[in-house]
């Protein structure tokens, strides 16, 4: 028996899988299902409908699901572990919103910055964009220099909130 807690679009489902039984939120499900290729194409045959879903693992615990023209994100916890968020309050963390090139870093460690102030300029797809401070604070670390090629989600600058 394996339990999964799955959150999609503000809804949470508890799915249990054991041998050939499948329960959703405690209710026994009698769908017939198939996996068609090794790449995440699943078919759920419900009573009067065949539903096709493509599942794709993204970051740990995060899955992309394409189903009926919808492109959904699912957060999955296996075994009902409570996903106790140990990540720090991230509001002081400026991460790369997309892969690309750092064109300019406009601050240095110790700088006081105001909310909305431009901290870095990043370029991707030939478009430049300003990465602004989400709060008033002090720059505590800078992880990149101009010319750096960064992946999406990489920490660029850390701030200590003011006050």
């Amino acid at each position: 028996m394996t339990n999964y807690r799955i959150s999609i679009a503000d809804r949470t489902y508890q799915v249990s899988i054991h041998d050939n039984e499948l329960e959703v939120n405690g209710e026994r499900i009698t769908y017939d299902t198939d996996s068609l290729n090794g790449k995440g194409l699943h078919i759920l045959r419900r009573q009067h409908r065949n539903v096709e879903a493509h599942v794709e693992a993204k970051q740990s615990g995060s899955y992309d699901i394409q189903i009926g023209g919808n492109h959904l994100n699912a957060q999955v916890a296996v075994g009902f572990q409570n996903p106790q968020s140990k990540t720090a309050n991230s509001s002081g963390r400026i991460v790369a919103p997309m892969p690309g090139l750092i064109i300019d870093v406009l601050v240095k460690i110790g700088d006081k910055v105001k909310q909305g102030e431009t901290l870095l300029i990043q370029e991707a797809m030939k478009m430049q964009m300003k990465l602004r401070s989400p709060l008033d604070g002090i720059v505590t670390s800078i992880a990149v220099a101009p010319g750096a090629q960064v992946e999406k989600g990489i920490l660029l600058v850390s701030l200590q909130p003011a006050g």
Binding site: Y4, D34, G40, D64, G100
Partner: protein
């Protein structure tokens, strides 16, 4: 005839398709990143031109000329973007003794610079947006904006095209902020940091006319396209013909585009772009001296392969058609499939295409460079495919395009497909009430999926993870085989429902 295509992605394959139909040998060029790209395998021959950075490969005139000479190309097609509007490239190709499949260096010089283009248009009798025919200096803090302009204004790259490098400034302070960025962007994208100002026309429509000129004053017009649905000044959905134009309006822009082409002895394919304001007045904006992303809608309504006509003109020197042969039929719409996330301000997405099923059936055309296993990166443009529909009328074309978009399955990378579908379902779009501020005026939001869908999604996710885990445990028997024992027959017999 051996044609080297100095481009990548869907447009490279688009051009190679016509080469193949004509019996021309096609040559692909590729950067490091693109060594396995579909266009390199589609071409009859392929040659490496440099590292991933476009400036060192697809925009590197030296590399391209060396590759052309090494492989013995007779002609070069620049596609769109990259070097397509660079006047030095066309000249260099012709000086190297090859055919440049595009405008003459003279046409390129006139239209590559947006300010001289305005001048040429005015001289041909076209209305031009107010504004000074001069560049903006970088340090303009002290200058006031010219008296003929008032805020809001657009800051545009003089060497620009394709909507890139355009910035809006609503007041003096914003203008000061964006000037520097716009110049840098223009320099990065076009190798030229010159910028100029243009008034922002509100509730405008972007309408353009496709022309083909023989360089000696012979000019064909292939009807107009409506390209008002834009995000970040870049086109998202285009159609032909433009909805709700009167015959007189259509006649005017056709005349204007043809007149400009004739006056400048325009050669090869080009697009004359107009803004139509709220009072239905047309203003010339610019000429795009190249094939455009949205050319397929014109091909669908005219039945004419524009690349074929362009290649045959370049190789024979003669237009193959006369204006009477260009008859429009029905309506066509193109939607751009982008590796961008519309819910995150159209930021580029990346990943590997894990599953691909492209649409088909009546009235659907796909121009794509996708393949299963392809890695999408942010190194180049985010356009990964185009879906084009045709119908006997606009309504049918919309119904088909919606149907086709729903069929399009691209696994592994988030795209704008669902967003495109929502636009095509929105009432203002259906009514043809389209302006360049469409996406600002009408908030296109994704529906919250119904409970049944999220529930199915949750089950699929659980099954997927479960199967992966069982497989990693080493067993060959996947859990999903077990599910099949829960026979659907019993369910149907018992009539059990969820």
């Amino acid at each position: 005839m051996k044609v080297l295509i100095a481009n990548r992605g869907e447009i490279a394959i688009r051009i190679m398709r016509t080469c193949r139909e004509l019996g021309f040998t096609s040559v692909a060029v590729y950067s490091d990143t693109d060594q396995n790209a579909l266009h390199t395998r589609y071409a009859d021959e392929a040659i490496h031109i440099g590292p991933t950075r476009a400036a060192d490969s697809y925009q590197n005139i030296g590399s391209l000329l060396e590759a052309s000479s090494q492989i013995g190309a007779d002609a070069i097609h620049p596609g769109y973007g990259f070097l397509s509007e660079n006047p030095h490239f066309g000249s260099a190709v012709e000086e190297a003794g090859m055919i440049f499949i595009g405008p003459s260096p003279e046409s390129m010089a006139v239209f590559g610079d947006k300010l001289s283009a305005r001048k040429a248009a005015r001289e041909s009798g076209l209305s031009v947006l107010p504004g000074p025919d001069q560049l903006l200096s970088k340090d303009r803090q002290d200058q006031a904006i010219p008296p003929e302009l008032s805020f809001p204004v657009l800051v545009k790259a003089a060497a620009g095209g394709g909507g890139k490098g355009i910035r809006l400034a609503r007041n003096e302070q914003e203008l000061q902020e964006v000037v520097g960025l716009a110049q840098e962007e223009a320099l990065a994208a076009f190798g030229d940091g010159s910028i100029y100002l243009e008034p922002l026309v509100v509730k405008a429509r972007h309408i353009e006319v496709q022309i083909l000129g023989d360089g000696r004053g012979g000019v064909l017009a292939f009807g107009e396209r409506e390209c008002s649905i834009q995000r970040r000044h870049q086109k998202l959905i285009e159609e032909a013909p433009a909805p709700n134009l009167s015959p007189a309006e259509r006649e005017y822009i056709t005349w204007a585009a043809t007149a400009l082409g004739k006056a400048t002895s325009y050669r090869s394919l080009g697009t004359v772009e107009f803004l139509m304001d709220e009072d239905r007045r047309f203003f010339f904006i610019e000429v795009n001296p190249r094939i455009q992303v949205e050319h397929p809608v014109t091909e669908m309504v005219t039945g004419i392969d524009l690349i074929r006509e362009q290649l045959l003109l370049a190789t024979t020197g003669e237009l193959q058609l006369d204006q009477n042969a260009i008859q429009l039929r029905g309506a066509a719409i193109e939607a751009r499939v982008l590796a961008e996330d519309p819910e995150a301000d159209f930021l580029p997405t990346s990943g590997e295409i894990s599953y691909l099923k492209e649409p088909g059936g009546p009235g659907i055309r796909i121009d794509s460079s996708l393949y299963q296993g392809m890695k999408i990166s942010a190194d180049y443009d985010s356009l990964i495919a185009k879906i084009i529909s045709w119908g006997p009328n606009r309504q049918t074309a919309i119904q088909r395009l919606r149907r086709g978009i729903k069929e399009y399955q691209i696994g592994g990378v988030k795209t704008d497909l669902a967003f495109l579908a929502k636009i095509l379902e929105s009432h203002p779009y259906l009514d043809g009430r389209i302006t360049t501020s469409f996406l600002d005026d009408h908030r296109i939001e994704q529906d919250v999926p119904c409970e049944e869908v999220t529930r199915d999604a949750a089950i699929a996710a659980a099954l997927h993870i479960h199967k992966q885990q069982e497989e990693s445990k080493g067993g060959n028997t996947s859990s999903v085989d077990l599910w099949r024992q829960t026979a659907w027959k019993e369910q149907i017999r018992s009539g059990s429902s969820l």
